[in-house]
């Protein structure tokens, strides 16, 4: 399992290629990046902040849960923190599995849960102001 937080730019290919076990044939990767427009409003840049030790623990829990729920072999989750420009990658989730179906399902489940439970926050900065984005509450 790879779970990391970093202020450095993420290399999606490098992360994806870290999870290539011999028994697998497919890795599904989600590359989440900074959108220029959100609801028609133009973002200048984003700032991500985390409660780092808790975020790492929650990411580990998610990987454990995904491994119980899906037939997957290896998972990497790396989330970037600090200031991100438009188009830069904020999160990479790569899942390797013997069969691709499980990799797709697990990857999609992991990003959904990460957005719900992992204590990381996003501030959107516009030309005329900034706002901390509030997620859906953890139910």
């Amino acid at each position: 399992m790879i779970v990391e937080l970093t202020e450095s730019p993420l290399d999606v290919g490098e992360i994806a290629r870290r999870v290539v076990p011999e028994e697998c044939g497919a890795t599904v990767t989600l590359d989440g990046y900074v959108r220029k427009f959100t609801k028609g409003r133009e973002t200048e840049y984003l700032v991500y902040e985390a409660y780092e030790p808790m975020a790492l623990k929650e990411m580990e829990k998610l990987v454990q849960a995904a491994k119980e729920k899906f037939e997957i072999s290896h998972v990497a989750i790396v989330h970037r923190l600090g200031r991100l420009e438009i188009g830069e990658t904020s999160v990479v989730i790569a899942v390797a599995a013997p069969h691709r179906r499980a990799a797709f399902e697990a990857c999609e489940w992991l990003i959904k849960e990460l957005k719900r439970t992992v204590p990381i926050w996003k501030k959107e900065v516009y030309a005329d102001g900034e706002v901390w984005v509030e997620g859906e509450a953890k139910g």
């Binding site: 808790m54 904020s90 204590p119 926050w121 509030e134 953890k138």
Partner: protein, 85 residues
């Protein structure tokens, strides 16, 4: 008897609390929900997030339900619904 608890605020709650970090004294034997209420009393601007149902609370880096005992030296964290990804 009182005890000293470390409280962390993140994102919008840090702005609302005016600080990212505080130490507060709480009564011994208090549960998490009561500790949160006490924190809200001291940082009343956080109440809005709580009323929206967006306020989350962790003790020692774990989400809590509310009935857990808070102990001397514990690390509490208060934050709005997460928005990473």
């Amino acid at each position: 008897m009182t005890m000293i608890i470390k409280v962390l605020f993140f994102g919008a709650t840090a702005d609302e609390a005016g600080t990212a970090k505080a130490e507060i004294d709480l009564e011994d034997g208090i549960v998490a929900e009561a500790a949160l209420t006490e924190i809200l009393n001291r940082y009343p601007k956080l109440t809005a997030s709580r009323e929206r149902g967006s306020l989350l609370f962790a003790v020692n880096q774990e989400y809590v339900k509310g009935d857990e005992l808070v102990r001397d030296g514990d690390e509490l964290a208060v934050f709005t619904a997460v928005s990473g990804g």
